[in-house]
Amino acid sequence: MKRYNKTIIVLVLISGVALVLPQFMYFKKLRIVANEIISALFCLGDAFYIVMGLIFIVLVLVLLDKHWAYCAAELFCCAAFVLLLYYESQSLESLPLEKTEFSRLSFGPGMWLWLASTAGVIIKASERVKLKWWLPLIISISALLIAALAVEGRLDGLAVMKEYYSQKSMYLENLITHITITLGVMAAAIIIGVPLGYLVQKSKAAEKITFSIINITETIPGISFIALLMIPFALLSTKYPELRQFGIKQFGAGPACVALTFYAVFPIVHNTRAGFKLVDGNFVEVAKAMGMSGSTIFFKIMLPLAFPAIINGIRIAAVYTVTGTTLASMIGGGGLGYYMLQTDSMDTVLLGAIPVVIMAFSIDKGLRSAVRLLPFVGEKRSIEGAERGI
C-alpha cells in the first residue's frame, strides 16, 4: 500500500475547514469594536469558490505525492493567500452591513487558522521539493504581488492598511530607526563579543569576569534593565549636556542600545568560545609541524573552523535584537515598538509586528544559509553542532 504523507494531508484539510468556519473575518464599523463576525462565504461571495477550489487542487496534488506536485502545491497555496487578501479587501464595498467611511475588515480566528495551516502545508511540502530556489522564488513573487496590491490601494479594505494610513506620517521613519538600532547594536555586539569569546577560552580570569557580568545582565528583564540604565544616562546628560549630540541622553535610543548590546553579546561570546574550543587540536599540531606562524594558524586554521559557530551566535543575537528593539520606543528611541505597544486594536500591533517578523525571519534564514554556503565548511556534523549552539 502506498504510504501517504499524513501530516501534509491533515494540514490541507484543516486549511479547508478554516475556510468554512463561521468566524472567518471581523467586520469593524469603526476602529476597535468587531461589530460583526462573518464567514468566508459571506465575506468573499463568489470568490470563496475560487479559493476553495485552489485548496481542493492542493489536496489532490499532495495526494499524488510527486515531486512536481509538491512544487505546484506550494505555488497554489501562495496564490490562494494573495487572492484571499485581494478579495477580502475588495468585498468590504459590497458587504450588506451598516458602514462608515472608517469601516474595515480584520482577520478573525478562521483566517488565522487558515494562514497557520497553509503555512504548514508550504513548509511540509518544501521538505519534498529538491529545487532549493523554488520556494524562495514563489514567496518573493507573492510578496511583490502583495506589495503591488497594497501600493495600488487594492488592499484598502483591510484593517492593517487602514491603520497604516493613519500612521503613515511617521511609519517609514520608525521603520528606519528600528533597522538602524538593530544594525548598530549588532555591530557593537560583534566587535565586543567575538574578541571576548576568543579571550575567555584563552584565559580563566577573563572567563570568570566576563561570564559573571553577562550571565547577570542576561537574567534582568529587558524593560527593567533599560529603566535602570536611564539613571546613569540621565546623570551624564545633565552633567555634560554636550554629550547629548552623541546619543548620551536619558530619553532616546541610548539606554535601550546599551541594554540590547549586553543581551546580544551573550550568545556571541558563548558561541565564539565554543567554536574555538571545538577546533580539533590535531589540526593545530599539524599546522605547527608544517611551520606555520601563530597568526597564520589563527587566521588559516582556527578562525575558519570556528566560523560556523560564531555566525550562529550572531544569528541568535540578531534575531533577539530585531525583536528586542521594540523596547526602545518606550523611552523615546523610536522604532516599530510604537505600534506594537498600542493594544487598542490588534491591527496596529500587526503594523509593527509584521515587519519585525519578516526581518527576524530573513535574518535567521539568511545567516543559516550563509553558514551552509561557507566554502571551508565541509563536514555536515560541524554545522549541526553549530546550529545547536554548542
Binding site: 464599523k29 469603526l30 476602529r31 476597535i32 469594536v33 462608515t100 472608517f102 487602514k162 491603520e163 494610513y165 493613519s166 500612521q167 503613515k168 506620517s169 511617521m170 536611564m230 540621565a234 546628560s237 545633565t238 549636556p241 547629548r244 541622553k249 536619558q250 530619553f251 532616546g252 520606543s329 518606550m330 523611552i331 523615546g332 523610536g334 515598538g337 510604537y338 505597544l341 498600542q342 487598542d344
Partner: protein
C-alpha cells in the same frame, strides 16, 4: 561601477542642497533657530493631539520645535520627562500633582483652580518647572458600564449604582491597583454613596473598557478616564458622580522655567487653544483618533483651523 555610484551620489547631494536652499528662502524668521524647543509627549491620543496643537501653534508663532510627540510609549516616564532637561514642553494633569507632592486624598485636588495653583506653586519652587494655564476639562476616573446594562438596571448616577450593588446585583469590576487604594478612588466612592464592593467582585490590574463592552469573562463594570474617545464606539455609559469624589484632572502644558523665561510668549500662544478644550471637545477629538483612526496631527490642525488659530491650507 564606482564612477556611476559617485555620480549618483553627487547628483543626489546637489538635489538635496537645492531643495534645502529652496525651502529656507521661503521660511519666515525663526526666533530660536539654533535652540529648538523640544516637545516630548507620550503616545496616547490626548497627549499627541494637544502636543501637535502646541507644535503647530508654536511654529506659527515663529518658534522652531523638535518633534518628540509620541516618542514615549506608555505614561510611566511622564514625571521624569517633566523634570528632565532633555524635554522643554510636555503635558500633565493637575490632579496628578497629588502623586508628585505625595499627598493623595487631600481635598485641594478636587478643585481645578486650587489643585492647579498648588502644583504650579510647588513645581516652580522646587523644580523650576512651569505649569501653563489648564484646559477647562476634567479627565477624571469614574465607573463605566455598557449602555444596555445601565438601561436594564436603571443606573444613571452613583446612587443608583450603590443601590444595585447593595441589592446583591451581579458585579465584576475592573480597576487598576492604585484606584482601590486611595481616598478619592473606589474607597471614596463607597464611603460617599454607601456601598461596598466585595473582594471577589474586583478584578485588580488594569482598566478593561474593551472587555466590558464585549462582556469578556462576565466583566460588567470598569474604571474609565472620562475623556476617553472610545466611550461612544464601545457603547459604554459613564455613571454620573454628583458628589464629585475623584480629583479634577485638567490637561495642562508643563514647560521648563528657563524656556518660559526666554520665550514668555509661549504662554499666550498655547493658552489660545487650551482654554477652548472642554471635556466634550476632548472626547470628540480623541474619538477621531481612537475610533476613526485619524492621524493626531491632522486632528490637531483641523481643530486649530476650526477655531481660527490657523489658516486652512
Amino acid at each position: 561601477m564606482k564612477k556611476a555610484i559617485s555620480m549618483v551620489l553627487a547628483v543626489a547631494m546637489m538635489a538635496t542642497m537645492l531643495v534645502g536652499c529652496g525651502k529656507k528662502s521661503e521660511e519666515k524668521k525663526v526666533v530660536n533657530a539654533d535652540d529648538p524647543i523640544v516637545l516630548m509627549l507620550p503616545s496616547t491620543s490626548e497627549y499627541e493631539i494637544i502636543g501637535y496643537m502646541t507644535l503647530l501653534a508654536l511654529e506659527k508663532g515663529g518658534y522652531a520645535c523638535e518633534n518628540k510627540i509620541g516618542a514615549i510609549s506608555g505614561l510611566d516616564m511622564l514625571r521624569e520627562m517633566m523634570l528632565s532637561d532633555e524635554c522643554d514642553i510636555t503635558m500633565g494633569y493637575t490632579g496628578n500633582g497629588m502623586y508628585y507632592m505625595e499627598e493623595e486624598g487631600e481635598k485641594v485636588w478636587n478643585s481645578l483652580q486650587d489643585g492647579y495653583a498648588r502644583i504650579k506653586d510647588y513645581d516652580k519652587k522646587t523644580n523650576n518647572v512651569d505649569w501653563l494655564s489648564p484646559a477647562p476639562a476634567n479627565n477624571t476616573e469614574l465607573l463605566a458600564v455598557t449602555k444596555e446594562f445601565a438601561a436594564a438596571n436603571n443606573i444613571e448616577d452613583m446612587y443608583d449604582f450603590a443601590e444595585y450593588v447593595n441589592n446583591g446585583g451581579e458585579l465584576k469590576l475592573a480597576t487598576p491597583q492604585y484606584w482601590v487604594e486611595y481616598a478619592q478612588g473606589l474607597p471614596g466612592m463607597e464611603k460617599a454613596y454607601g456601598f461596598k464592593v466585595a473582594e471577589n467582585q474586583l478584578v485588580i490590574g488594569a482598566k478593561a473598557e474593551k472587555e466590558v463592552s464585549e462582556g469578556t469573562d462576565g466583566m460588567n463594570c470598569t474604571m474609565i478616564f472620562t475623556t476617553d474617545g472610545r466611550i461612544d464606539e464601545l457603547g459604554l455609559y459613564v455613571i454620573k458622580d454628583p458628589l464629585e469624589i475623584p480629583p479634577v484632572y485638567a490637561p495642562c502644558l508643563v514647560a521648563k522655567g528657563a524656556v518660559m523665561e526666554a520665550y514668555p510668549e509661549i504662554a499666550d500662544l498655547t493658552n489660545a487653544f487650551m482654554k477652548t478644550l472642554t471635556t466634550e471637545v476632548l472626547i470628540g477629538l480623541n474619538r477621531k483618533v481612537d475610533s476613526e483612526g485619524a492621524d493626531p496631527e491632522t486632528v490637531a490642525r483641523d481643530y486649530l483651523v476650526s477655531i481660527g488659530l490657523l489658516d486652512a491650507e
